[in-house]
Symmetry: C2
Subunit: 363 residues, 2 copies
């Protein structure tokens, strides 16, 4: 089923068919045009995007490289990206790296072979010449999310400010011995969050005690282990974790050592993953507008592709969400009407129906 079939059926050349499809400036007689259109309809013909792309150098598809789609932190980004790309009729090829350098490189080459129009690179760390040289031929067609030691256009999150807010919140609750369990040294966002923690202390004229710092790998297990060690050796009254999963791990460690949260130990996380609103106790955390970040990244990429001038950076601010793990009265949860639900609940949720019909169904 190709353009030739249509041409034969409409008794015209393939050039004419092409013109009708793309309604090109080159004029086509209305009668001929109608004949072609009905031939297309009868055959349910669609032009082959591959052939089209081969000549036009536009595949109308972009690649997204993320660490792990089953991590809710990234699903929101992806959803944001897809909502924009869908709107502009772009296809999205999604690739997981599991933070494995070899896979990152493999995926970049894969996307190059597929001749995608652009790439959004999020999470993981761009380091090493290999990754950079793999990305080089795609220069001018890449947008990164987060701070990376490269000069691609980037969507950046104010991790420093977020960490400051979180730490200030703990300081305001009169905690003076605040532990920090963070991510890997190489991660810029992890470094920024540590910087924010430090800033907040310094601003109050408090000392920065590096014995209160632990670094791990952002997993629940890592949070659990680091917190266990920290609680045993330093007896902090509060812990600020680099992400929500580590914070939840810390809560578990606290409980196992017989401490209550938030009474004996206050805990703050980062990211506001859906879990954090529903954990027991619910987690005070710093919200990042991931869905918006995803949208912004795709919008920037489209600009880059179209060679429109784009700002080199777009900043997103964070928001502190105070919940149970730092002493919020548990009961307030019950009457709380602005529970932060997972993104898809908000987005897809139709406005609250006012009435039920006689069967009790939603109208």
């Amino acid at each position: 089923m190709s353009i030739v079939d249509v041409a034969v059926r409409a008794k015209v050349s393939i050039a004419t068919v092409s013109r009708v499809i793309n309604n090109s400036p080159h004029k086509v007689n209305q009668v001929t045009k109608d004949r072609v259109l009905s031939a297309i309809r009868e055959l349910d013909y669609r032009p082959n995007a591959l052939a089209k792309a081969l000549l036009s150098k536009k595949t109308m598809s972009v690649g997204i490289i993320i660490p792990d789609i089953s991590n809710p932190y990234y699903t929101e980004i992806v959803r944001g990206i897809q909502d924009i790309s869908d709107q502009y009729r772009y296809g999205v090829i999604l690739l997981n790296t599991d933070r494995n350098q070899e896979r990152i490189i493999r995926h970049i080459y894969f996307l190059r072979e597929k001749a995608v129009d652009g790439i959004i690179f999020s999470g993981g760390i761009i380091h090493g010449d290999k990754v950079l040289s793999a990305l080089k031929p795609l220069k001018e067609r890449v947008v990164v999310i987060g701070r990376h030691p490269v000069d691609f256009p980037a969507v950046v999150i104010d991790n420093i400010g977020g960490a400051e807010k979180a730490t200030e919140h703990l300081l305001a609750l009169n905690h003076r011995n605040i532990g920090f369990i963070g991510g890997p040294e190489k991660s810029t966002s992890a470094r920024d969050r540590l910087t924010g923690y430090r800033h907040a202390l310094t601003q109050r004229g408090l000392p920065f005690d590096k014995n209160l710092i632990r670094k791990g790998d952002l997993t629940y297990n890592s949070g659990y282990l680091l917190a266990r060690d920290l609680l045993e050796k330093e007896r902090p009254t509060a812990i600020f974790a680099d992400n929500d999963l580590m914070a939840l791990g810390a809560i578990r460690a606290a409980r196992e050592s017989g401490q209550r949260v938030p009474e004996d130990l206050a805990v703050v996380g980062f990211d506001n993953i859906p879990l954090s609103a529903y954990s027991d106790p619910s987690l005070t955390t710093v919200e990042i507008p991931m869905y918006q970040v995803g949208r912004a990244a795709m919008e920037m990429l489209l600009n880059v592709i179209d060679r429109k001038d784009t700002e080199q950076f777009r900043w997103f601010n964070t928001r502190l969400i105070i919940r149970g793990s730092t002493g919020e009265n548990r009961l307030r949860l019950r009457n709380q009407t602005d529970l932060t639900f997972p993104g898809h609940l908000i987005r897809n949720g139709k406005p609250l129906p006012e009435t039920l019909n006689e069967k009790g169904d939603i109208k």
Copy 2:
């Protein structure tokens, strides 16, 4: 940067380059081969997948159509699909429908234009001739997840059995007035879960009271509204919800009406989304092995593509996970060591490190 550049640099024809790349049976002199290989290396050349696909009719990419990637229920499927497709070097194009028929059709045509080698269709409902006729030309290259009124190979989940287990669990706890809040009539999985509920009652010789049944749209809001109505009119002692989100909505409705969960009202959900383990109270629910379902779907699709004989169905069983919302002692959560974490925590989690180094970091 094309095959011609390589040919020129190696002083051979493009045919020879092609042979070297695909190490074709047609022999190439070792000396020439080396010359070509080093030319390829020096130019960092990769063959254009589009051009390749145009001739070979294989794009090495598949499409996945799901309702919503930000819904954790589907992320696990996607992750399963991707782990297999990555292994076989397939690319995956992901498309969200938001259960919108027009979009489903648009996405199918989009994938046809992209000439994907196959499609996995999950969630949403295949109904109407339009969707079917759009899928028709792809016949023999489609795998669906869930029961659909079509004869494509399918991965099917034992929803009936799962609902039976859940209802039996409530019956065993001596509940006799069990409300059911379900999904839309058109959804086969929602119908199956209702059937399972009914079976369980019938098997115990108990009556099926249709006043205890409500149907909504699987959202948190819907669960909340249906439960509120149900609690007011029928005063059930337990509610079985069609999915975890509705169950969580029901818990909220119960609390607002002053009832405690599980003391005054027991609640069971379905799906075991990550939230359900961490909600307060944690949710008794029926687990579906979504990650495995995704893997199976992709494996079946690969078989279909390669024209290998594949079974027309693959069944997956469910598992009842008993937690706080049906009366599990809350304290047990603290000592529980097999907490069900989100998939990505299990999959990516390295084995628990045994030791910390002198800085307290994980080695």
